[in-house]
Structures are given as C-alpha cells and as structure tokens.
C-alpha cells in the first residue's frame, strides 16, 4: 500500500530482477556543477566555516550506483496539513501571511515529481522555535516554523506560511540575517540532494549577508531571491512569492551500457 507502482512491478517481477553482477558497469552520471555557481567550503567572512570547512582537496568521485540512486517516498509520507504553517491546533500564527510556491525541475527542465520538500524558518519576529535561539524577540506559540510538502506530477509545490523576520547573529559586529526560508530536497538520487535558503526581493540586508554572498556567480546567487507573484496572491488573505528550484540533472552525453 505504501509502495509506488514502479516498485510493485519490480517486486512482482523478481524473475527479471537485476543482480548486482549483471548490472551495467556504466551508469548515467549527473552533471557536475558549473564553476562559481556553488559556494566554496571555506568562506572566512562566514566565521563558522573556518574551523569546519575541510582543508584537504576533495577527491573527485565517479558516479556509481551508490550516487545515482536514492530513496522513493511513500504516498502517505506527508500529511497535507503540513503545507500550512500558519496555524497550530486551530489557532492562528501572528504575522503577514504569504504563500510560497514554485516548481522543482532538473537541469534538463524535467519536473521532479513526488519528491519531498522540507522547510523551516523563523517567525514574524525573527525568532526560531529552537532551544539554542536566544534572540530577544517573542516566540509565537502558534508558529513552529516547520513545513513539509510533496511535489505533484508537474513538480509543483505550494505552502502557506508567515513572512519570516530578520534576526541578529554574532558572525561579526551588528550582523543581521536577511529574512529567509530554509529548503531541503532529496530529489531522485544521492547526488541531487539540495539544502538552500530562499530570500525576499528588495531586502536591504542582502548586500551585507556573508551567507547569501558566499556564491561567486551573481546570477546563481540572485536566483535564491524569490519573486513577488500577483498570479498566486490569495485575495483578502495572503500575498505570494514564487521560488523555482533546480536539482541536478543527468549528463546528456552518451554512455556505455553493457550486460
């Protein structure tokens, strides 16, 4: 019941099950990142990276079965109510209601369907419901800041939330994080994993934030800024922002298959 049709077929058709020995020795690799479009690990302006970023060069890993596979998700994985962050036990959170929606595509433009999108964020005052967040701003008992949604057959997702507030952190003197929502996606393979942060257009803190600015490529960095979207505004209820997410796609170059 918790299995998708593809997996049911595999299970029933065990006579055709591919043994590890008979599997193709070459798998279709995923594209490598374009230079400059992903952050470097060591970014001294982001002070925490100094003691935590690896210092040895990374070793290039060919994509094997391990890297090109990933877990599927049961249709019952996510309760649809978790797409609405604006209420807890029937009580409404405080702040400006917004929808955040978009599509999850791969680098070849193909929708990434039925994949898990997890989000977390501060409340309207810039405070996280987390024991280690000691920022002197009020908690909202009706806002946990936690949401989950599955993409549909077109790769689309949507959730309703409260616009998060900016908050101070101690990276440097008078450091403030611009308002942001954290996104986490697994995608279809080990190598398609993505954790990112979505920002808001026109935020005056963006030029000063070392985390937003850690990526060298201007276009790649600016794609983390959502767009205000009249089309999806809910009249009398919530403003709307659009944020499309691109996961890594298969390399288009031909590959050898044997066996």
């Amino acid at each position: 019941m918790n299995q998708n049709p593809d997996h049911d077929e595999l299970d029933e058709d065990s006579a055709n099950r591919v043994t590890p020995e008979a599997r193709p020795s070459q798998v279709a690799s995923y594209r490598r990142h374009y230079p400059g479009t992903q952050p470097e690990y060591l970014h001294p302006l982001y002070v925490s990276s100094i003691e935590r970023a690896p210092r040895q060069p990374l070793i290039k890993l060919p994509h094997t079965l391990t890297e090109v596979t990933g877990p599927a998700f049961a249709p019952t994985l996510v309760n649809p109510k978790t797409a609405d962050l604006t209420r807890q036990n029937g009580r409404e959170a405080i702040g400006e209601r917004i929808t955040v929606s978009g599509r999850v595509l791969d680098e070849n433009g193909k929708p990434v369907c039925n994949t898990l999108v997890e989000v977390w964020q501060a409340n309207a005052c810039g405070r996280y419901m987390h024991k280690r967040d000691q920022h002197d701003a009020p908690l909202d008992p009706n806002f946990t800041g936690q949401g989950r949604v599955m993409t549909d057959s077109l790769g689309a997702y949507k959730f309703l939330t409260i616009k998060p507030g900016a908050y101070p952190w101690r990276n440097h003197y008078n450091a403030w994080r611009p308002a942001h929502i954290h996104f986490s996606l697994l995608g279809p393979a080990f190598v398609t994993r993505l954790v990112t942060q979505m920002y808001f257009p026109g935020d005056p803190l963006l030029p000063f934030d070392p985390i937003f600015n850690c990526t060298a490529d201007d276009k790649a960095r600016n794609r983390l800024i959502s767009q205000f979207d009249w089309e999806t505004v809910i009249p009398e209820h919530a403003l709307a922002y659009k944020f499309d997410i691109i996961l890594r796609g298969r390399d288009q170059t031909p590959f050898e298959v044997q066996g």
Binding site: M1, N2, N4, L10, R17, P20, E21, S25, R31, T37, Q38, E40, Y41, Y46, S49, I50, E51, R52, A53, P54, R55, Q56, I59, K60, L61, H63, T64, L65, T66, E67, T69, P71, A74, T76, D106, E107, N108, G109, V119, W120, Y128, R132, D133, Q146, R148, H182, S184, F190, R193, L194, V195, T196, Q197, I211, F212, R223, L224, I246, L247, G249
Partner: protein, 188 residues
C-alpha cells in the same frame, strides 16, 4: 533545455526544526535480512572539539546489494520497511549512533565491484554545502575497491570503521573536519 542547479546554502544551527521528521537511529526494522551493526562516532572540528549541530544522512544498499527502498511515514510504524535512508543529528557532545544492516557489495565503474559501504552526507552550521564521504566496513577486502583506489593510501583509514573490542557488531567511525586525520571528502 539547460538550467543550472540551485545554489546550496548552509543548514544553519536550527535545522532540527525542519529536518526532524525523518530522523531515525534504526535504519533496519526488525526482520530486515542482513548482518546487524551499530555505528557510533563523533564529529570533530578543526580544534578537535565536538560538533553538536551536525546532521548525518546515510544512503546504503540492502544486504544483497540492491538500492531503492521507500521512505515511509514514521507514523506508519509496522508498515515501515528498510529504505536504505537514514538521518541522524549529533547530540550535545557531537556524538551520533545508529543501527543498520551491513550492505552487500554493489557494482562499480568498468565491471568492478565496490566493497560494502555507506554513502554519507554531512551537513552543519559552518558548511555552506553538504559534504560527501563514505564509511567502509572492517574485515572486508577493500584493497580492490575502485573508489578507495582513488584515495591516497595514507588517508584511506579515515573511511574505515573499526571494531569495538568485546563488541564485534559495534563499529566506531569518527568524522574529523580538519587536521592530521581529516576525513576524506569527495567531490561528487
């Protein structure tokens, strides 16, 4: 069509709010075929201090070397089957612990076979992108593993779990971000 993958950003210090749902310290539900193992370890920063806000994700094959399980709703309880996926945050002392079954060998490049291994993704405040590493199992023939062959011999030990004396099913494996025993991380 050609698009560029979205840029990574750090998980930050408060990821537990959003990434708690799939946390599990038991990857293999009772009855999963295979040899049970427990893996314990610590994540250490460049000063050797434990990192209490790291998150480890695991991806592994089943005992016969097959990938491709299904992640179920944790509330489904008994219906949950082995998915090969696990997510474990470190505790206040930088420690992690999880139980699973030892995976079987899986196909590697150019007709080779890879020794049993766990694919590991590591995320934490201070890491702007996730890091990839692997954990290999003791007493396996790893000399011919096509991935370990890419790693300088002097650094391979950082990818090898060790057996706990007196408790052969408990494996120890630490992750060190920097220093002489810096764990090997992969660009994948």
């Amino acid at each position: 069509m050609s698009l560029q993958a979205t840029t990574w950003q750090t998980v930050g210090p408060y990821f537990r709010i959003g990434l708690e749902y799939l946390n599990t310290t038991e990857l293999a539900p009772a009855g999963t075929p295979g040899e049970p193992v427990t893996v314990v370890g610590k994540v250490l920063d460049g000063n050797g201090k434990p990192i209490s806000d790291a998150l480890i994700e695991i991806w592994q094959a089943d005992a016969s070397g097959e990938y491709g399980g299904i992640v179920s709703n944790p509330a489904d309880g008994a219906a949950t089957a082995f998915s090969g996926f696990g997510r474990i945050p470190t505790d206040d002392d930088g420690r992690f612990s999880f139980s699973t079954i030892k995976p079987g060998p899986v196909a590697g490049p150019a007709g080779t076979m890879q020794s049993p291994h766990l694919a590991i993704r590591l995320m934490m405040r201070g890491l702007l992108r996730g890091l990839t590493t692997r954990m290999y199992f003791p007493s396996e023939a790893v000399d011919s593993d096509p991935i370990l062959e890419l790693v300088p011999a002097t650094r391979r030990a950082t990818l090898m779990a060790t057996v706990t004396p007196g408790s052969p099913s408990t494996l120890q494996w630490n992750i060190e971000m920097q220093g002489e025993r810096e764990t090997v991380f992969f660009d994948c």
